[in-house]
């Protein structure tokens, strides 16, 4: 009897679909297995999904986990990948995407992005992308509704510093402090954490990053580079921006970016603030830091002349947005909007090595956001269009009249590791080759390891011809 039962069971097993219990669905954001890059923003990023161990093709539906009752969680939406890269005009995402996964295990590609209204007035939900790291899930369910997979992602967006939660603020400050405290890393004797950015800015001040067409793209790359360094420390961090055309009472506190008071220029922090005790080298030592000198000593307290909690810079974004050419817009952006913000705060921020003050990055994120707002308004994402960026072409040592790094097809120093040649025959004033952070944190989304000016211009890949840099601003959508 028992033997008969065994035979029946064995025969029955032969008719059971093979490895039913081993059907496995895999999903990769940015088409890599590495979950370190599973962070999305408003612009679509490629993802892929496949099934293995299934006897037949599998119909699945992709959807996003819903915002929590607290309303603090991001959501994502999707578009099928038809082989054409979605542009800011064509991108038509859906909340639920139906896909057929072939039984042979081939990957099926799709696009995923943070969910945000396309245009017009901001919706309250648009301002609440993720705050808790990977608190959003892509849910994969069978057509019958059986849940097959949850894949964690984060809708990571640069937000107004005034609107950060305490947790977001503290994670950002802690990452900054950790990065600040890095001294010598790796095998590069001169490779310091935060200090190298201040020195690079100071030493290239006259090499075309100010008073020059390269001002917006150079700083755009610099922000992204530092942000990637912070994300290598804490991937949930995104650079906040200081919206300096309004008061910023939450930012200018001793719990956040610090305050000056009583006529003293020394910035004060709460003892619990990770920025407390922030010290940087003097400007003179950073300006003379070169291949022959040791790492400058950080012995200067942070200094500012003013806050912006009760008065803010007298700037007018409409003068920037009102221009029709890049050249004039850039002069307004730099000469009015940006300079007034630096001047309002003063202290370190009014020096050549202004990135010594971490507020620099929040200020410049707002400048970058203003450039993006102009780009959206003028539809100016085409790096080959002289109205969208000028000058075109590439630096030529014999014929060019502007500095290397100004022309649209130029690579950007210091990320191009071309050294800090200051244009003099003396090697002693060459700045050391130091590795900057474009390779850190996220490895497979733009810009290139040797970034080009052109890549900064369509950094969201609005025209579908470049590579998205995987960052967005809360109030600047991808879609037209």
């Amino acid at each position: 009897m028992k033997a008969n039962l065994l035979v029946v069971l064995l025969i029955a097993l032969l008719f059971v679909p093979p490895a039913l219990g081993q059907v496995q669905v895999e999903l990769e954001v940015n088409t890599t297995q590495d979950v370190k890059d599973d962070y999305v923003c408003w612009s679509p990023q490629e993802a892929r999904i496949r099934v293995t161990g299934s006897a037949s093709d599998l119909n699945v539906n992709l959807s996003s986990s819903q915002r929590s009752a607290m309303g603090k969680q991001g959501e994502v939406w999707f578009e099928e990948n038809t082989g054409v890269i979605p542009t800011w005009v064509s991108f038509s995402p859906v909340d639920t995407l139906s896909l057929i996964l072939p039984s042979n295990g081939d990957w099926v590609s799709f696009w995923v992005a943070g969910k945000r209204s396309s245009s017009g007035n901001l919706m309250p939900d648009d301002l609440t992308p993720a705050v808790h790291g990977k608190d959003t899930e892509i849910i994969v369910a069978s057509s019958a509704g059986t849940e097959l997979l949850r894949h964690a992602v984060m809708v990571r967006i640069r937000k107004n510093a005034e609107e950060l939660t305490d947790g977001e603020r503290d994670r950002f400050l802690q990452a900054l402090r950790t990065f600040h405290d890095i001294d010598n890393i790796g095998t590069l004797a001169h490779s310091s954490g935060y200090v190298k950015y201040a020195s690079a800015h100071g030493q290239s001040f006259f090499m075309g990053i100010h008073n020059s067409p390269a001002f917006p793209p150079w700083h755009r790359t610099m922000l992204l580079s530092l942000e990637r360094e912070l994300q290598a420390i804490d991937p949930s961090v995104a650079l906040p921006y200081w919206k300096f055309d309004a008061l910023a009472p939450k930012l200018f506190t001793n719990r956040f970016i610090g305050v000056v008071s009583g006529g003293s220029q020394i910035v004060q922090f709460d003892v619990s603030n990770p920025l407390d005790g922030w010290r940087m080298p003097s400007e003179a030592s950073l300006q003379s830091w070169n291949t022959g000198n040791p790492l400058p000593v950080s012995d200067q307290s942070l200094r500012r002349a003013d806050n912006a909690a009760t008065s803010n810079p007298d700037v007018d974004l409409s003068t920037v947005l009102g221009q029709s050419s890049y050249s004039v817009m850039r002069q307004q952006l730099e000469g009015n909007y940006h300079n007034d913000a630096h001047n309002h705060i003063g202290g370190f921020l009014a020096s050549l090595t202004s990135p010594r003050d971490p507020l620099f990055y929040l200020l410049h994120a707002n400048v970058d956001r203003a450039w993006l707002a102009w780009q959206r308004k003028e539809e100016a994402f085409d790096s080959a269009n002289i109205v969208h960026y000028f000058p075109q072409g590439q630096f030529d040592v014999l014929t060019s009249t502007l500095h290397q790094g100004s022309y649209v097809r130029d690579s950007q120093w210091p990320w191009n590791l071309a050294g800090g040649n200051q244009g003099t025959p003396q090697a002693s004033d060459d700045w050391p080759n130091v590795v900057f952070g474009l390779s850190a944190g996220i490895t497979n989304v733009g810009p290139s390891m040797i970034p080009l000016v052109s890549e900064s211009i369509d950094f969201m890949n609005s025209l579908g011809s470049g590579n998205p840099h995987n960052y967005s601003y809360d109030d600047q959508p991808f879609r037209k």
Binding site: S264, S282, F390
Partner: protein
């Protein structure tokens, strides 16, 4: 490679020769000479508007309010286009107009217009942008320098602050001369000069470390505490029992940690300084704070009476709390 180097060398020499022979002057700056064709085209398109705004801002028959609004509008057309008018109006007889012009010129001096070091000119070769930028720089800084001789203190102050903040050598030298001749009060001079780099003004300001006036000594000691003059700040202020207590407290927040230790063992350290130095010391030591260090601090506080002072009582309790923690975690 050799050819490129030779060419670069030639151009460096050539550029220096251009500047040496041309003797760039403030009047050489013309915003319509901007090397960017988009900018000149924009300015040409707006020439009528620009001329009108210049005319209104220079029209002395109009109210100061109207003239100032015209200046602001001109600045909004493009910052550079307002510069020649600003340079003119800083000497306007209306103090409101002159102050506004000085303030806008001072703002223009920051950030965009740091003077390019000569070493950088080589890389810019015969770049027309360099010549344009240098002419703009001359216009701004020559105008500000001229303002230091303005009879109106309000206007003069704007120039003094701006030139100091830019560490402009000529400006700083003049401010120091004028301070010595009594044009500025010592407090005024200190408020301007502490905006400049210590390599330019440290020597001059260090003489105030002997002052007994807290209004002078505090900002100067705060300024010099993180410079090569910090040894003088330590000896003349932080450790000097005759120095004003505010200045000693402020310097304790900036001086190296090792310099704070003698304050804890000195019998002369006032309670309020002991307290602020202790806070700073504990904060900086953080998790590196050791039991012997805390015992030393407790020893030092014995000279104060906890029954007579809430501050001392609070410090004592805090230190005893650390000792308890050390023993608990042993």
């Amino acid at each position: 490679m050799l050819r490129t180097c030779c060419l670069a060398m030639f151009r460096i020499v050539a550029v220096f020769a251009i500047f040496e022979s041309s003797g760039l002057h403030a009047d050489d700056f013309d915003p319509f000479n901007n090397p960017d064709p988009f900018v000149t085209s924009y300015l040409t398109d707006n020439r009528g508007k620009i001329n009108n705004l210049i005319a209104v801002s220079e029209d002395k028959s109009r109210s100061a309010t109207v003239r100032i609004e015209a200046l602001k509008s001109l600045h909004k057309v493009l910052p550079d286009v307002a510069l020649p008018t600003l340079a003119k109006l800083i000497q306007d007889e209306s103090v409101e107009v002159a102050s506004q012009a000085a303030s806008m010129l001072a703002a223009a001096s920051m950030m965009m217009n740091h003077k390019m070091p000569e070493a950088n000119l080589g890389d810019h070769k015969d770049n027309p942008s360099v010549e344009y930028g240098m002419a703009r720089h001359e216009l701004i800084f020559a105008s500000l320098l001229k303002l230091l001789d303005d009879s109106r203190p309000k206007v003069r102050a704007l120039a003094a602050q701006s030139l100091s903040a830019n560490s402009d050598k000529d400006g700083v030298t003049k401010i120091i001369e004028d301070t010595n001749s009594g044009r500025y009060s010592e407090q005024e001079a200190i408020s301007y000069l502490t905006l400049a780099g210590p390599e330019l003004v440290g020597e001059f300001l260090s003489k105030y470390l002997d002052s007994k006036d807290a209004k002078l000594l505090t900002p100067v000691s705060q300024y010099l505490a993180e410079s090569r003059f910090r040894g003088q700040v330590r000896d003349k202020v932080l450790w000097n029992r005759d120095a004003p207590i505010e200045a000693r407290q402020e310097s304790s927040r900036l001086m190296p940690t090792d310099d704070l230790v003698p304050l804890f063992v000195s019998p002369d350290t006032p309670e309020v300084l002991y307290s602020s130095a202790l806070d700073e010391y504990v904060k900086r030591q953080g998790s590196k704070l050791t039991k012997p260090q805390v015992e030393l601090l407790l020893q030092g506080i014995k000279k104060f009476d906890p029954a007579a002072s809430a501050t001392t009582k609070e410090i004592k309790e805090k230190l005893e709390g650390y000792i308890k923690n050390f023993e608990k975690n042993k």
